[in-house]
Amino acid sequence: MKVLPSRPDFEADPALARGPAPAMIEIDRVSQTFRTSGRQAHLALSDISLTIEDGAFVSILGPSGCGKSTLLYIVGGFVSPTEGVARVKGRAITGPGPDRGPVFQEFALFPWKTVLGNVMYGPRQQGVKSPEAEAQSRRLIEMVGLKGFENFYPKELSGGMKQRVALARTLAYHPAVLLMDEPFGALDAHTRTRLQNDLLNIWERDRKTVLFVTHSVDEAVFLSDKVVVMTRAPGRIKQIIDIELPRPRRRAELLLDPRYQKYVVEIERMIDDTSEDGLRP
Amino acid sequence: MMTRALSRLAPLLACLGLLAIWQAGSLMLNTESFPTAMSAVRAVPSILGDKESLVNILDSLRRMAIAFAAALLFAIPLGLMMGRSRLVASFFNPLLMITYPVPKAALMPIIMLWLGVGDLAKMLVIFLGVSLPVIYHSFQGARAVEEKMLWSGAAMGLSAPQRMIRIVLPAALPEILTGCRTGLVLALITMVTSEMIARQSGAGNILFNALDMGQYDTVYAMIIIIGAMGIGLDAAFERLRSRLVRWSEPGFDIPLSFA
């Protein structure tokens, strides 16, 4: 265990000595402008600041076109912000890296690789030797419930199964942060619930930091520690709500829990209230 | 603004660049059989000024135009029907598959045997050459038309032939026009090739007579003329196409031309 050099001000106050949970992601005054085909500039994100602690499950919730996916892409390093800076573990983000693993709504699996090939891609890219990468990948495939499908091609799988593969592929290179871009948006209601439950179970094992973009209020409340509600374009943070529901969460219990219902209703009201949208300076 | 003007001028710049490479290459090789670009370009007006050559070239173009039009009238309806009916498609597909790799211009000697060396033989060959890609693209275009669009048409009381003309044809138009564009360049190629093989008259014949007589400037000048016809016809058709199907997504913006 690494011992930190002692700092006098921390020693003075025992509460501070524990310190706040270290920030995994810091988004600092980020704005994003896109040039559309004409000469018009479209402001997608306006002055976003957000800090996400290590091990937190944070959802970004907002109407379509509010720039919530763009925010995720900025953290992923796929898009660089027009203004402001995003940091992961204190370092400014300059590009994609294996510390931040994306899971997209469109699955984005490599169609020319089998399930096993897809999951092995990351470890192989990290320089893990083939037999070891295969063993790891097989374990992950089993964990996401796809044992027996290792040699299937993505086209032979259903949407829910494809998303399980995509999750396993991302987990395989051990990212510190999972970036999930409406991952269950393309799935039917039943598959969606099952995947939500399974995602929580997997998450409970090692509590990675998760940034989860969705437009479903239920999903956000059910999964998250924190819900960030955004306004219509240009996207701003409207409010951040801490979801203080006990974990591990069971869907059946939660649906009957008045606290859960209250969160859902409160957030839905907040989204319906458009009076603030686009009015702040 | 600058970049826009540049991108419009780019093909012209490319032409000049290619001519410059030619010029430099011929100066370096310095053989009689590879004249400079300059001297080839200078020979162009004398060919076009010569009455007999001009009549020959215009004759070629007339045959090409007639055969092209006839091919469209035949190929588009056939392609559309194949696209909408499995039966028609499976009836014609194997036949098209075995005729596809046969060079149409190579039928020239046989067709000449039957029809003589007149216009009819040449036009028939061009007709065959143009038909295949147009049928193929019309087929693909009609096949991709969404079933639900036709259901709505039927619900609105359109009969089957009406649906074909008012829904399938416009919906498949971008694909059909892509086929026509390929067909147009193909018509030119088949025309030149059949004239090279038949050696009776026309642009291809001038080209090869010049080659036989060692008039190298004329050979290269004819290549420039035929090349310019290809590029010009294609550019003109592309303008027409982009007007007709302004609503559609641009696909390939360069045609896939071949013999």
């Binding site: 994306p102 890219q125 | 009836f91 598959m97």
Partner: protein
């Protein structure tokens, strides 16, 4: 689709071919056309079978195939290379794009006399013509396929730690394979056609040359033989490419 429907479709497809053969046979056996103009199909096919056994005919096929493959291979290598480069680099794109715009609609066969003058009457000029004609469909479909690669596929690979310069070979190229193969298929048909034409225009051997020789002496039977041979070659090569395609694309959804 079940096997029975498939069989009936195949049978239906054979009908027009059988019909054409029957009409052909009918015309010649009822004496509407003299044998010198239209030999009966039986005669043509038995001549083909007999020719296939002779070493001279095999030699003609071999020289045609050699030119075809040489030209086609050059076209594939250059087409895929330039297409990928143009999709990956804006600078290459800016140069290649206008040149392709000019050269693609150019009737390449018109260049053949120049190629004859520069490269002589041997293999080189024909191979160059085949390559020039087959190049553009392959180049264009490679470019098209490579520039249409789903952005999120590239992002996924980058997040997994793929360096930028490897993305082209690890993601873009494999993702463009379906499109590249479509281009190759067009290019292959073009190669068949062009090699035959080039041999007809000027050659001392090859299938095209056989046709011209037969035409000079009005041997109708011998004119049909090379034509049918090139059609069969085209079908076989296309079938082989189709096999390669379904192997390489076993993971891709049907197009």
């Amino acid at each position: 689709m079940n096997a029975r429907a498939l069989t009936s479709e195949v049978l239906l497809g054979i009908v027009p071919i059988a019909l054409a053969l029957a009409v052909w046979q009918g015309i010649s056996s009822f004496g509407y056309a003299p044998v010198t103009l239209l030999p009966p199909p039986g005669l043509v096919f038995s001549r083909l079978a007999q020719q296939l056994g002779t070493s001279t005919f095999q030699y003609e096929i071999a020289s045609t195939l050699f030119r075809l493959f040489a030209g086609f291979s050059i076209a594939v290598i250059m087409g895929v290379g330039i297409g990928l480069a143009a999709a990956a680099s804006p600078a290459v794109n800016a140069v290649v794009r206008p040149i392709v715009r000019v050269l693609a609609p150019l009737p390449k066969v018109a260049l053949y006399p120049a190629l004859l003058l520069l490269l002589g009457f041997g293999h080189e000029s024909k191979i160059t013509l085949v390559a020039a004609d087959a190049l553009f469909p392959i180049l264009l479909s490679t470019y098209y396929g490579a520039s249409m690669v789903e952005q999120k596929l590239i992002w996924s690979a980058m997040a997994a730690g793929t360096p930028r310069r490897q993305i082209l070979f690890k993601v873009v190229l494999p993702a463009a394979v379906p499109s590249i193969l479509t281009g190759c298929r067009i290019g292959l048909v073009i190669s068949c056609i062009v090699v035959f034409l080039a041999e007809m225009i000027s050659s001392t051997d090859g299938l095209g040359h056989m046709l011209v020789t037969a035409a000079r002496t009005f041997q109708a039977v011998d004119m049909f033989v090379p034509l049918i041979t090139i059609s069969l070659l085209g079908l076989i090569l296309n079938g082989l490419l189709q096999g390669l395609r379904s192997y390489l694309l076993r993971g891709f959804p049907e197009v």
